[in-house]
Symmetry: D2
Amino acid sequence: MSFNAYFHEVAAEVRNWGRWGDDDRIGTLNLITPEAIAAAAASVEHGRAVSLAIDLKHDGVQIGQIPTRINPVHVMGTIDHADLGDPDGKAMVPHFSDDMVTMGLQAGTHWDGLSHVSYDHKLYNGIPASTITARDGSTVLGVEHVKALVGRGVLLDIAGSKGLGRLPDNHEVTATDLDEAAAWAGIEIQPGDIVLIRTGRMQYYLEGSAQTYTMGEAGTADSPGPGIDAVRWFRRHDIAAAATDTYMFEVFPPSDWDNALAVHCLAVVDMGFTQGQNWHLEELAEVCKEYGRHSFFLNATPEPFVGATGAPVVPVAVF
Amino acid sequence: MSFNAYFHEVAAEVRNWGRWGDDDRIGTLNLITPEAIAAAAASVEHGRAVSLAIDLKHDGVQIGQIPTRINPVHVMGTIDHADLGDPDGKAMVPHFSDDMVTMGLQAGTHWDGLSHVSYDHKLYNGIPASTITARDGSTVLGVEHVKALVGRGVLLDIAGSKGLGRLPDNHEVTATDLDEAAAWAGIEIQPGDIVLIRTGRMQYYLEGSAQTYTMGEAGTADSPGPGIDAVRWFRRHDIAAAATDTYMFEVFPPSDWDNALAVHCLAVVDMGFTQGQNWHLEELAEVCKEYGRHSFFLNATPEPFVGATGAPVVPVAVF
Amino acid sequence: MSFNAYFHEVAAEVRNWGRWGDDDRIGTLNLITPEAIAAAAASVEHGRAVSLAIDLKHDGVQIGQIPTRINPVHVMGTIDHADLGDPDGKAMVPHFSDDMVTMGLQAGTHWDGLSHVSYDHKLYNGIPASTITARDGSTVLGVEHVKALVGRGVLLDIAGSKGLGRLPDNHEVTATDLDEAAAWAGIEIQPGDIVLIRTGRMQYYLEGSAQTYTMGEAGTADSPGPGIDAVRWFRRHDIAAAATDTYMFEVFPPSDWDNALAVHCLAVVDMGFTQGQNWHLEELAEVCKEYGRHSFFLNATPEPFVGATGAPVVPVAVF
Amino acid sequence: MSFNAYFHEVAAEVRNWGRWGDDDRIGTLNLITPEAIAAAAASVEHGRAVSLAIDLKHDGVQIGQIPTRINPVHVMGTIDHADLGDPDGKAMVPHFSDDMVTMGLQAGTHWDGLSHVSYDHKLYNGIPASTITARDGSTVLGVEHVKALVGRGVLLDIAGSKGLGRLPDNHEVTATDLDEAAAWAGIEIQPGDIVLIRTGRMQYYLEGSAQTYTMGEAGTADSPGPGIDAVRWFRRHDIAAAATDTYMFEVFPPSDWDNALAVHCLAVVDMGFTQGQNWHLEELAEVCKEYGRHSFFLNATPEPFVGATGAPVVPVAVF
């Protein structure tokens, strides 16, 4: 198994190396302009904010495939404790409760940072993968460089546009799917848009099965999601970032095993594309329907873990 | 030491128990209206977003006072790893890097949730502190109930309004200070505002000393911050939430030791007030000066840890 | 469900509260005398040491029933790192690799400490369960008080003595079983013995299934192990401690649901008995057979975590 | 800075590569024979067991030099919890408390495993350092291969033999020191001995200062400990393993900066020597004095973390 000629052809087509300089740290996020942010804010009508994050808890979406990508283990460090003492047990003094967590940074709703994916031992912009070390993490392309990530969010409800509750487990989201969903929503895609691709897959988890959510009904990891064709569409439209309501992000299995997980490589490594997974788009889809619009102001700033290859995010859409 | 008559008098004055029903989970955050959110969004002119979070890293602001409130320990779980195998070492296949963190939820820039503080073994709304358990955390007032926290943010630059780089280490921020800073900024405070109180304290940390940041120059934990008078002001103005650029939030030492840490109790327990610490307000102050305005659209949604008594947040101000 | 009259009768019979003073911290471990230790050491003939611990790793015996009892998550903190610098990349300077772990203290081969079990909100010796706090753990009966745990170990191979590879999934180990296994092994039980009860259950895990190991073949948590009758036998013989090669320690389901998990309560709370789980007794059984003897010198000192209610241990039997 | 000619000369002298085969995993631990173990056990007279571990707790010996080598953070996962339910609050049903820990594997009393040290990107036996990966840890020389580590322990009380409470902060322990301490103790060193070198340094920690323990009185990391000369002595005497009561193990600063941390490299990489740090030898020294003998049966089996480059140990000496 090794990427084939078609992969390399597309890689050359979508590659953004050098486009924002050799010292760039954020790739396609550069495409979000102040004008786009201001316009997105100006579009707010109702003052309604919708969180697109799943709850962080020990029985989250992870089922153990990746040893260290563990669901959040939340523990209390103190409970109702009198930090300044309470010798008489009177309790009419301040008491505190405090907590701690251990978790995979990509355990819940998250962004893949630009250093999450490599091939040929290279990251985005040709940075060597060896710049990621056990001691310091990603020393060049850490997720902390994102600072703030706000702009216009666009929901492309692929399942909804096809009249489906959710897409079949192995449905490849194509450029045509994306165009049709935009048309169905009456949206014109703009450079710098942050595209949220709804497949309906998250329903499995919300209905109680992390297992089906991650592995599909057949238990073979089949998943709907963007294929190579969609990556070309992202590049053609100069999309700033995209997220899905799936575990995998990209379609699985691939149409061609030579190009397995090619979307991750083309998007993150070649384009310098920030991509999100495990986003909760169900309520969002309802609200978009309610207001008859599929674009909104979006804040999706990742937690600034220094040297991290990805990070938790609580995306908030404002209508 | 036990809270004195003045404390109880103020407690009665500011208490919001029952105001939003017995089943309320978010206290003064109820004061943020859709209208306020829409107006804040409409105020965006420049499309400029400013993060108010400090970086999350092992050499953060914690110096070990609270055993489990540890700075983020970030580790790599995989580096440049071929998940699907790379038997020939060709590397022209996808490789991944992934990471994990262990941290106190209140280690960096964070909100204190409503279950962080108790006295008389009671939380906000009279909920028993015993609803917090080692197994499940805060079973009634967990921070996950906040969902989305957006609205109008207001910077009250107390240091700036006094022409100081930073306030003296034990300066009590009073109602007068708050009023003067609002007047200096030309801001009229509105119900539902999220107030960010700048003392300049964060400079110690940014200049390299977590020790001075947390303990003050004398090493005695002295800190500028709101006193009881300010809590009354928060209540009088129906402020939704407040945050400071300090470790402590409230002034220390207290003017009266009977009422040590009284602000935490009055604000969180009696008012049901969400309060933030370790916020990075330096760049924000510069930007406010640059644009000649001290209000902005603010998204400060906490990470939704279920049962948590506080949570990390990346506040983003948009101008 | 509530403990019935039989339970309380046995509780009165086996209770050791006050036997070693009100300030005792180690319960039946007091029964191990210097003479017994010296005799056990003197019995060593072959100089062969056998570890009774399972490996500590992310795919260990835990399958997620207890949120925080997670399998060891082992991560590297540095890899081949030049702590003193390696500016020229010459590498002919010292490099270091270092690691970190997060785990449930009872995730692998472990002892239950005396504060692991309570009923009627009381621990061994009548100590209130409230002496265990989120901040400090078990402030009276922490496992660190054990210091050293060495003595004579005795393998009672219940499965072997019955000519079975392993016991049926719900087999209750009775006093008769224990006596028969001792007779089969030619062992005379002595006060202060540390009894290792082999059921063969560990084979499921060693053959690859943590699921069957913990839940049994029917997936209902059925497990062979000591019942109430065996606790009476432990007490009658003044056994110092006992361990099994099972997840549960005691038989499950109980013969009487009123007394579910009664063995834990009678042994740990009433007797002050240290009990072990997930011990690897397969190689030990082979070695006992090879040498024709079922007693040995045993070191099973728990890791001294302060305030812990249980601890990892690498038991080593020496022949 | 790069190792000089003397280093390479000694490396050639002490190197054990290939001595126990190319597939060897344990180096000098091969030197412990069954006869030595049996003889050590036979030497037990008093049945007295002494732990040589410091307590594992959040205020342990680590002061933050190595980001992930954190002191044990012990937290409760459940406290007095009725796993099977306690609907009536009767509590006369089983309740459980359970805990979790996050720690550097070399945070407390530990062994350095054979993969802890490398130079020229090579580990013991010439194994490439690249066999240590973020995902799997040390895939060849993980500490789990040790299985059981028992044998004759010998206390060489360097401080005591010189009539000192503790050695000066930068005292190099030489071959002469080791010989004199052996003579003072009336011990004849034998192949396969496990040598415990007491400097008295641990007293700083036991008296309350982790800072002085790790950094010395001058705060410059000066530490007594074996120098290169001592490594040659270890090799000449075919010592199986050695441990000290210091943070560093070896003397610091080095007599020659070209050879900084050379002892780690010569011992672990060239000899394949297992070395221990942060051992508590104070009580041991007292007991040796009391019984008039400085050798004992020692069990010092590391916790079997798979792929680990070091591991916690509770060494127990039995007299």
